[in-house]
Symmetry: C2
Subunit: 136 residues, 2 copies
DNA sequence: AAGGTTCATGCTCTTGCGGTTATATAGCCG
DNA sequence: CGGCTATATAACCGCAAGAGCATGAACCTT
């Protein structure tokens, strides 16, 4: 089964999942929160259903949509090998701050530039970053 | 900063990240692996760059692209509240299997249907699942 | 039976995205 | 300098995705 990144790429669909994280909901309820039309909501729900991210229970004319988190495990699995990269960096930052507690950064933002590179570029004459395409 | 799900939705871009997970690479190298044209690769790299997922170092005419995993932390953060849901289910499965080791499932696949529902639908007369839209 | 809810589906329109081709830019080497 | 290499950008195209509207289907209520 393909990783459902494309399904999650849609903000409304992520919002639906977030809402279903609290509790199961009716289509009308979701529609109200999303601020789009009911057919629009239904369409997103269909995509989520086919991706196995939600389940439906019928109750007369109503449909209770509930979360089905299993496919998200695949996203988590894809993320796994990357996770250690930024935790490594954060660890390095912590060690750094631990070594020199006089460091004057008030922000909690990890100052990546301060941390020794995890993956080193093979013997490239360390040229400053390319401003190149950045300025569009 | 918005969660870069839309950037990750593209298979080629995920593949690029996977390749950069090993080591920094040149555009040509990536192009070869991806099986698309060089401009196509450059375009994806631009998107990844603007999302802060990769960095560039220039080396004469060459460009070494390297991974920049920090934005993935946001994905991880979004995933966090969901993670406990499926781990809960797996835990329940483990406890289940622990209780009755005579269980005859040979597969390692978690048989979710066996696990008691985590979130229960509020007093809906438990009607069987809707085959409804599924059959297209 | 009639009318009102609640939701799904079909259609159309528009936009954006991914892909390719052609071209521009930058730097190397002979 | 001239040509070659490596990459970015521009212009264009086709298609699929998302949004809205109108309609259909299922079910309740009276």
């Amino acid at each position: 089964m393909a990783i459902p990144f494309d399904v999650l790429a849609e903000p409304s669909r992520r919002q639906i999942l977030d809402l279903l994280l609290e509790r199961p909901r009716l289509v009308g309820e979701l529609t109200e929160h999303l601020g789009l039309t009911q057919p629009g909501t239904s369409k997103h729900l269909r995509v989520l259903r086919e991706a196995g991210l939600v389940r439906v229970r019928r109750d007369a004319q109503r449909r209770w949509y509930e979360l089905c988190p299993e496919p998200l495990a695949e996203v988590d699995a894809w993320l796994a090998p990357y996770r250690r990269l930024w935790t490594d960096r954060l660890d390095a930052l912590e060690r750094h701050l631990d070594t020199m507690p006089e460091s004057l950064d008030a922000t909690g933002e990890p100052d990546v530039a301060d941390v020794p590179d995890v993956a080193d570029v093979p013997d490239v004459p360390d040229v400053p970053d390319v401003p190149d395409g950045e300025a569009r």
